[in-house]
């Protein structure tokens, strides 16, 4: 294990960024999101939750797939190059890392998404433990330990020092590259770290959502949950915006569109939201015609369909972003609780 003083972090970032792109939480106009590091970026490692999850680093909101160039009536096609440069995502929390695992199941299984795979291959994740979890967090419910984030490198911020532990070959390689800036941690440090982890876990226990039960939410519950009358009440305040989808670390749906450049077409993909009325719109119309159906889809996917196809793994990681950002104060926790209540009433 290594450590580095907080005040030396900018030197560390500088050093990483010399050789590869570095993404980390940066404040722009009052909001913190993952951005490429620049010498004058306002880095904010203290921010527990960036507004958007860091999934952009592997699955950007919008990315070009290929370009069609028109010359008279002749067309030529240029595919977009796959990611070839290495990059580092710094500061990812345990929940967001679990989010990447959810995406991996989708994009790295057959047929492999080559754009995603290239980014995963070239990306190194430096994880960071959560120092002060908040009331909207419920990662514990999904078995995630935010005190022990597992990625290529794991880090903890304790008393002005960042503890650094490489966990994979990629992590070792990165550690090697910046070794000169790190100091070897000693036994006192290890103790300090354990104390920190215990403290974090103690706080997690106190969080209001930590005792949320997922009982009954699994692949087998499909028909029962799908047909439940609970949805009819739940969906009503939903504004059909895409906030929950776009801040979510696990939502993976996208649309493919053409942009007319005047000289041809850029075919790109961009995130889509199952909450949108034109989601999966086809020539005949939409297969989900009401907001109730669209609303139900999102939660059924996270808690029933996805686990059914992925050995019981939920595609919610309890980051709580939707809890904080939904304009109508709806969220997955309220959905789970509504069913619990209904079950209890029976």
């Amino acid at each position: 294990m290594y450590k580095i003083a907080k005040e030396n972090l900018s030197a560390l970032f500088q050093s990483i960024a010399e050789n590869q792109e570095l993404y980390l939480p940066v404040e722009v106009s009052g909001q913190v999101n993952y951005k490429a590091w620049t010498p004058d970026a306002k880095v904010s490692l203290e921010t527990l939750k960036t507004v958007k999850s860091p999934k952009d680093a592997f699955f950007p909101q919008s990315e070009n797939l290929y370009t069609v160039q028109r010359d008279g009536k002749k067309l030529s096609i240029q595919p977009e190059a796959l990611k070839e440069q290495k990059f580092v995502v710094f500061g990812m929390k345990a929940c967001d890392i679990q989010g990447v695992k959810v995406l991996d199941n989708v994009f790295l299984s057959d047929p492999v998404d080559s754009f995603y795979a290239a980014r995963r291959e070239h990306g190194t994740i430096v994880a960071m433990a959560c120092h002060e979890p908040e009331e909207s967090c419920f990662c514990k419910v999904f078995g995630i330990d935010c005190a022990e984030p597992a990625a290529d490198v794991a880090t903890w911020m304790v008393d002005g020092e960042l503890y650094w532990k490489a966990l994979t070959d990629k992590g070792e390689a990165l550690t090697k590259a910046v070794e000169s800036l790190l100091t070897e941690a000693d036994g006192t440090d290890a103790e300090k770290l354990e104390t920190e982890k215990t403290a974090i876990r103690a706080i997690v226990e106190k969080l209001p959502y930590s005792d949320l039960s997922l009982e009954g939410w699994n692949g087998d519950a499909l028909t029962e949950k799908f047909n439940s009358p609970v949805w009819e009440e739940l969906y009503k305040p939903c504004l059909a915006c895409g906030t929950c989808t776009f801040v979510c670390p696990t939502c993976q749906c996208y649309d493919i569109k053409d942009y007319d450049t005047g000289h041809g077409v850029k075919r790109y993909r961009c995130w889509d939201s199952c909450m949108y009325s034109d989601f999966t719109m086809m020539a005949h119309g939409n297969n989900r015609t009401s907001q109730l159906q669209r609303f139900r889809q999102r939660f059924m996917h996270k808690l029933v369909y996805y686990p059914a196809n992925n050995n019981g793994m939920y595609s919610c990681v309890g980051c709580g972003r939707c809890v904080e950002k939904c304009p109508a104060s709806l969220n997955i926790v309220k959905v789970i609780k509504a069913f619990e209540k209904q079950g209890g009433d029976k």
């Binding site: 106009s29 909101q61 002060e132 969080l207 009440e233 009503k236 961009c270 949108y276 009325s277």
Partner: protein, 324 residues
């Protein structure tokens, strides 16, 4: 709040209304959600407190299609939106029983959290009954306080006044919480050099994730299908490429609601990225006021909107250049 619940019960019981549109207590101290209540029993979850910022007018578009009347709780500023929706034939006045609810300024949890308050367990002082000046917040990390004023939504600092514009009855007292001029920020931007203006908006709009929350919450954006979702203008794009599209979207959105926007502030309230979207709408409002005479959308249900009206001697577009 109890008075509201009692009245709701009465109206449900005597058949005046078939349902009540209000707010339901959330599972955190600050997240009540808009909700329908159809039975007396269900009203036990009814809540009305400082976090009930949501403007329920727009829900009345759907509620107008339902059987029977809906009792809808509207704050003074929400009633402007409701009037505007009547004007545009989007809601049915006869399907609404409007209870004007008292308002003493609504709270913005983001603002409270911005003060470093986290791990919130409970909040005292947000109830509508008492005139608390201070919020006392119990958190996992200890007790914190926050002046009510400092936790208020931006829109409440430029409150349009405590009068309901339309109602069947009023329950509760309202307070004018205005302590700022709503055009100050617009003026500040107007005074910038073009490159500063551009940098400002570029920085703000670069945060936009095209989630459409601003549009979908907006009572003026009540189109059945937005032009940005249809192919009518070949404008249907979902990309977020940090260039032209966000500007196109936000300029056109503001233009489409110009003269119809009541300045209810919902767009800015819901933006997950905290983009001050009201700055677009207020610019149009300010221009309209200055060029065509003061106009407050939603003050009535029959006046001509400034963009469907004109005078022979309106200002020429060149005024934009001339005034510098």
């Amino acid at each position: 709040m109890q008075e509201l619940i009692n009245r709701a019960k009465e109206l449900l019981a005597d058949g005046t209304v078939a349902r009540v549109l209000g707010w339901k207590a959330g599972d955190l101290p600050y997240n009540p959600e808009p909700a329908y209540f159809e039975t007396e029993e269900s009203l036990k979850d009814f809540v009305y407190n400082g976090f009930c910022g949501a403007n329920l007018s727009k829900y009345m578009i759907e509620a107008s299609k339902l059987e029977g009347k809906t009792m809808v709780c509207l704050k003074p500023c929400d009633t402007y939106s409701f009037n505007q929706l009547i004007k545009e034939h989007r809601v049915d006045r006869d399907k609404a029983y409007i209870v004007g609810v008292g308002c003493k300024g609504k709270l913005d949890i983001e603002k409270i959290k911005k003060q470093g308050i986290k791990g919130i367990q409970s909040i005292q002082g947000a109830e509508i009954t008492d005139d608390a000046e201070t919020l006392t917040i119990q958190t996992i990390y200890g007790e914190k306080t926050c002046a009510y004023k400092d936790g208020m939504l931006e829109r409440c600092h430029v409150c349009k006044g405590k009068e309901h514009q339309i109602y069947d009855e009023i329950i509760g007292e309202s307070k004018d919480t205005k302590d700022a001029d709503r055009f100050d920020e617009v003026r500040r931007i107007e005074a910038m050099r073009p490159e500063e203006k551009f940098a400002f908006f570029q920085s703000e709009l670069s945060k936009c994730i095209r989630c459409n929350a601003c549009r979908n919450v907006c009572p003026a954006c009540s189109c059945r299908k937005c032009v940005f979702d249809s192919n009518k203008f070949d404008s249907s794009q979902k990309a977020n490429v940090d260039s032209f599209e966000e500007k196109m979207f936000h300029i056109i959105r503001a233009f489409h609601v110009a003269g119809r926007c009541t300045d209810c502030g919902e767009c800015s309230r819901v933006c997950p990225q905290g983009i001050p979207l009201h700055l677009f709408n207020r610019k149009f409002i300010k221009d309209i006021d200055e060029l065509y005479g003061e106009y407050q959308a939603g003050e009535d249900t029959d006046s001509k909107g400034p963009l469907t009206n004109f005078t022979f001697d309106d200002a020429e577009p060149s005024i934009v250049t001339e005034r510098g």
